[in-house]
Each structure stands twice: as C-alpha cells, then as structure tokens.
Symmetry: C2
Subunit: 422 residues, 2 copies
C-alpha cells in the first residue's frame, strides 16, 4: 500500500502496523506492507522512522504505481485529497481515508466511482476516531429503520464545554484545549461547528440511506456561550453540549449542529472531555449508543487499520464490499422547520413591562414560555439579565420572534439562543 500523509494519524498508523503487524497477519492471513509514503518535506523529523526509499514527494509514484493495491489517504483537507482519492479509485486501487471533509462533500460520487472500478472506498476513521459507527451502521444495523440520531462528534468543542461546565471561561477553556493539542491555533473549524457538520452529513447519509449534504445541515457554533449559561443550565438540571441531531420526520430528514441544553440524566450528558458518543434510535434495537475516543493518533489509526484488514480480507478472496448509499431517497427538510424548546438569555432595561413586551412578541408566533428567571440588575448600567425557557417552537418562528425582540426599545442584547433537548 501507499500512504498519503505522515502527520499525526499517518505516523500513528505506521507505528501501529509496525508494532502489531505479526498479530494482524495471523488474524487475517495476509501481511500489510507499506510501499511508499507521500510527504511534503523529505527531511522533516517524524514520530516514526520511515525508510528513506519509501519517502516520496511525488503523488504519482503512489497513485499510478500498479504494484500498489491500496491507497491510504491521511492528508486531510478537501484539496488535493479529493483528486488523489479519485485518481487512485480510477486506477483500480482500494482507498482508505480518514478525511471527513472529502467524504461529507464528495462521498456519494467517490463511492460510485469505487463501485464502477470494482474497488473499495472505506472511511471508518472519518467519524468518531476509535468508535466504529460507520461499520455498525453499514453491517450490524442493516435490518433497522433508523429514525433518530444524536451525537457528540467533536472532541475539541466537548473538551471546551466540559471545562466551562467546571467553571472556566470560554477563552480559558479554548487556551487550555490549544495548549493540550486538542484545538488548532485557528480553532474556527471546530468551534463554529463545521467539523461536526461534516461528520453528521456522513452519519445521516448512512443511517437514513439518503444523501445528506453538509450544506443541508443547520450549523451554530459554541463561541456565543458564556460561563453564566452553564451556571443557569446547571441550576435547571441541564448541561450544554454541541449536539449533532438528525431525525426522520413526516416531511423528511432534518439535520443540524447546535449548542444544546441536555438534561443531566440524558445518555449524552455524561460524555466528557475529548470523548465522543453516538446515540441512535432504531425500530428493532430501540436506543443504542457507541461511546469512545473520537480523535487522536491511536484511536484513528485503529480505525484505519481495521479498514485495511477488511480490504486485505477481500483482496485475498477477490471480492469487494459495495456501499450503495441512496436506495431510499427522502427529502431533506430545511433546518428552520425543526421543532425544539429554547433557552434564551437577554439583557434588558430594568423597568416595568419589559417582560410583558417580550412575551407578547413570542405569543404572536405562538411560542409559549415555560419559565422565566430574572437575575440581579447591574446598578451602574440599569441592565437586567433574564433567562427564558420556551415550550417547543419551530426554529423559523423562533428566529422571526427574536428578530422582533432584538428591536424592542428595552432590549439591549440577545446574548444566547440555545436548543433544549428532552
């Protein structure tokens, strides 16, 4: 095989193959052999030793070499990874990738290309690191109609939210995540929810057997959250998580990534730090959950090597596993149609009648209030903070109501708008 990329996951994969090659060979009856490794800089020091004659900076020495059966893409990013994967498949090479962006955006087309060329494209490592959720959806739950999916699938944001739950500010939590290597120096891909959207697109597509594109998924990040939101939430029996949700409703599939209040008794409430979890509702199995390390070199390498073993197994027998993604074809509903309860935190002038005004606007959109807490007024500014919990409302209506409320004279700021999960 040929590896594209020898960064954290690439090095982890090479290390795992070196340490456990013998045992894997005994289990699957074949030896996984690295022929060539594409890197950007031949001279750069690496976590693993790669023989100099395996290193290359020329992708064609892997993609076009007929002696290479399997290409492992671990470069990340959309380009040039997508072109390399397509070229490998067109050259009838099996491909294993950990690239969520490529699979989320181009998965159906690439799988089609793989099928036409009689090769496998496997991507277990693209979602949930060491959690084999792709394999479970493809094989083990095949007889189920999946109706709902709830997931914590971004370790960086879950680490930040867990730290905030323990009392840290957003900036402190982010800085700590960066110091520990859990967040990049530019964390926007994680904290704005983009990474979780890619993963949710892949999971929904497999779970519901319908192509769900990243652009069809609603997305709100965690950067609006403040320490006090966690305190308010805890007081009402909730934790805050960046929740990836997808449901099959009467109108079709609706999917979104949103910071969400989750009851402390909920299965996903106890998922802390960099751990991930995927909770599914299937008509045969009812509730089902997978929990584990969502990222990192070792769990991700574990998933890459499991895919490689499946391909080696197939190669020996001259067969392939086809993944047909969309035999069903449900409509995708605008995330604005999603029904949810809301947590609203607002800064308002501390004078009589303000709450009545806000309640009035909500009522015109048929949104009823479940509870209100008014917190102490800041004496210097005369601004009071109120937290409103609503009953279930359609997202579009709630957004329209909030747009009106924002323009009320007495409203200084809408500081947080969060979903509330039952």
């Amino acid at each position: 095989m040929g590896l594209l990329g020898a960064g954290v996951v690439g090095s982890g994969t090479l290390d795992l193959l070196a340490r456990r090659g013998e045992q894997i060979a005994r289990s699957i009856g074949a030896r996984l052999q690295v022929r060539r490794v594409l890197v950007r800089d031949l001279a750069r020091p690496r976590a693993v030793t790669i023989p100099a004659d395996q290193l290359t900076t020329d992708p064609s020495t892997i993609l076009d070499d007929p002696s290479i059966d399997v290409v492992v893409e671990l470069m990340g990013g959309e380009n040039p990874a997508v072109e390399y994967i397509a070229r490998a498949l067109a050259n009838q090479k099996h491909v294993v990738t950990a690239n969520k962006e490529v699979i989320a955006k181009h998965g159906p087309e690439l799988l089609d290309l793989a099928n036409r060329n009689d090769v496998n494209l496997f991507f277990e490592a693209s979602v949930g690191g060491g959690i084999p959720v792709i394999s479970v959806l493809r094989h083990d739950l095949i007889a189920n109609e999946i109706t709902s999916l709830r997931a914590i699938i971004n370790g960086t944001t879950n680490f930040i939210l867990t730290a905030m739950e323990q009392g840290r500010s957003y900036d402190e939590a982010l800085a700590e995540a960066q110091r520990l290597g859990y967040a990049e120096s530019d964390p926007s891909n994680d904290v704005r929810g983009t990474d979780a959207v890619y993963k949710l697109a892949i999971l929904s597509t497999l779970a519901f057997r319908t192509n769900v594109r990243p652009s069809q998924i609603g997305c709100v990040g965690i950067d609006q959250l403040r320490q006090k939101d966690f305190k308010h939430a805890a007081g009402m029996g909730y934790v805050i998580k960046l929740l990836a949700s997808a449901d099959v409703g009467a109108k079709g599939i609706v999917a979104s990534v949103r910071p969400t209040l989750i009851p402390t008794s909920h299965h996903l409430a106890s998922v802390k730090g960099v751990f991930n979890a995927v909770l599914l509702d299937g008509d045969q199995i009812d509730k089902f959950m997978l929990y584990g390390q969502g990222a990192g070199a070792r769990p991700t390498a574990s998933a890459v090597v499991a895919d490689l073993c499946a391909i080696a197994h197939n190669l020996q027998r001259g067969v392939i596993d086809r993944i047909e993604i969309a035999p069903q074809d449900r409509p995708i509903v605008d995330p604005g149609d999603m029904l949810s309860r809301y947590y609203l935190r607002l800064q308002v002038a501390d004078r009589p009648g303000v709450l009545a005004q806000i309640a009035q606007v909500l009522a015109t959109k048929a949104i009823s209030i479940s509870s209100v807490m008014q917190h102490e007024t800041d004496e210097t500014t005369g601004v009071a903070e109120i937290v409103i919990m609503t009953h279930a409302a359609v997202e579009r209506d709630s957004a329209a109501a909030l747009a009106e409320i924002r323009h009320l004279d007495s409203v200084r700021e809408i500081s947080a708008v969060l979903r509330v999960e039952r």
Copy 2:
C-alpha cells in the same frame, strides 16, 4: 434457509424478514428465503403466520436438505441444539445462532468444524441482543490489544437491581420482572449468574483471543442482596450491579461475574432496567462502550438478520469469514486470585471488642479496612449490623478471613460480601 425454533426470537426473526425483506434485498443484492421451520407442535398458535407447508417437526428435513444453505438455530438450551448445529455444519450449511450456552460451552469446537467444512458459524445474537459487540470485537477492534472488559450483560438481573435501587425488595423486584416477562418462572439461570457467565465466556474468548470456558469463570448471583445493601451503597456513592469482569494480568486472564458496588460516576452505573452495556479497554482506543437493548425479540432478531445478511453477502461471492479463536494462548487464572476491594455486611452481638476481633482476623490476612459503619442495634435481639469497606484484597484471602470471622463467637451472620469496583 431453515429455522430451528419459532418461539419469541424465531417469530421476531420471521416477522422482521417479512416486513423488511425488500429493503434487505436491495441492500445486499439477495433475497433471504425461508424454506422450513422446525417446531415442537404444528397446531400451536404463534405470533407470526407461518405457511403450513413450511412447518415441520422433523429436524432432518432441515439439517439434511441439500437445498437449504443456512440454518438458523433459535431453540435455546444445550441439547439438542448443539447436535443440530454440528450436523448442519457437517452438512456444509452456514449456521446462525443466538444460543449463548452452546457457543460458551462448545464454541471453539464448532468454529473449528465450521472452518473444516468451509462454512460460517455466526452468533452475534448470543450476547447483548441488539448490541453488535461480537462484530465489533471481530472486525473493528482487530488492531487492539484488549486488556480489560466490564459488562452488564444480563437484562433480568439488571432490571431487578434497578428496581431494588428504587426501593423495592428483592422479592417484589423479581415478581415484577416475572410479571413483565423479563424473568422466567424459574429465574435461577439469570439470578444465579449462569447466563452472564456464558456471555462473558464468549466475550472474553473473542476479546483476548484465548479460549475461556464457563467453568473457568467465577460466579456469584444476586439472590443474597437485600434492600439495605442498596441504601448503604447509595450513602457511600455507589450503585450495585451484577458485573461481568475479565482482565489480562501478569499471570493470565481472570474472569468473574459478581454483584459489585460501582461508583455512581462510573460509565456502567447509569445502565438501568433491561439495558446492557459492554465497556472495553483497548491499547489503541482506550475506553470504549457499547450500550443498548440486551434481549427481547426485536433487538435479537436484528442481530440474527445482520448475521444472515453477512452470510448471504458471502454466499453470493463464494467466500467465508473464518473465525480463528485462539492464536494467542494465555493461561486462565483462578478467580480466587482476583484483587478487589470488598463491601461486607455482618450481624454481630452489640458488645465491646467485636469490631477489634473482626479487624484482627482481617489483619492476619493483610486485609486493611477502609471504612466501618455501625448501624443501630436491634434492642430485642441485641444484634448490631456493621458494614465494612476493605482496601484491595485477593479473593482467596478474603474468603479465608471471612470463614474465620463466621466462627467468631460474637458474629451472628455474614449477610453480604460484595466486590467494589473503582
């Protein structure tokens, strides 16, 4: 295919195949077709309609019919199921079974027979119902060295323990489980731990790639537990679960099923009612957990049909998946060697020096006490109850100490001896 048994799981499987046959056929490119169903009584009314010409009371019309490719064994019990499975494999039929007793006791020999006859023997439904733990261990964690396994794998006992946690007595909880169909009229197989031992034997064998026999697994049931144990445990921050544990230590594999105090913050503490969960430690993935419905017609049928789909997939391609169980061959350690903390509840005479005597006996076996609670004395009998938490001790030493303590003049009864998990 031919079905052996049309009870709860058999009917559930036929129902699922009838409802989802079309979709499964689209996914795997083959139709699963039932040829014959073995039953005890042709006339008996059933949950599903089975055409009269499919029903048979003669197993040879399935086991020896060359037109049947796959035999699905859902009769349960060791005999005659094990003979039927062996005969089907010898006749080069693939076999799917949900039979934990047969796989736990005869799995390695039957897998060997399957391999020699070039057919598959699949048994996903034998452990954890809708939780695909067998598949995950066989395929997805292939690159991991599993070092530890903790599981709640008996729904009946977990239902009873959850009800006791909520204040019910053992007898009330058992009666409720029987009324709801979760416990059989003779519940001993569940409450004495035998069912959990079978499942742990299967899981340990796959996880550690070493044959672990039911007879090598320590077993204690839940029938010693009383309401007050749950109250004492809760007061110290614990819940009580029937925990299946297996570890790889320096001397080998040690496995046991024991009622165990688990901290409320532990991942398995929140597994309630008839749900099951399996928590694994792998060197690549660290902590990993599967959670879901452990039994019942629908989840079990989901697992049976997933196995059938894998076999149909292989049949079309003319290949098989071999399961080689024991390439490693670690020694199995006597469960008496297991190291654990203990919770002891004793009835003692309320007079000075009793605790000192007990502590003295424990000290001779190098078992140190972590905490003691003495509860109010029953004035009419003069008997006091004490609860002792020990530091870690070897099970054999603790048993020897308890045998001595039992013979102390002042000790009326040792009412409960429970493991304590960190």
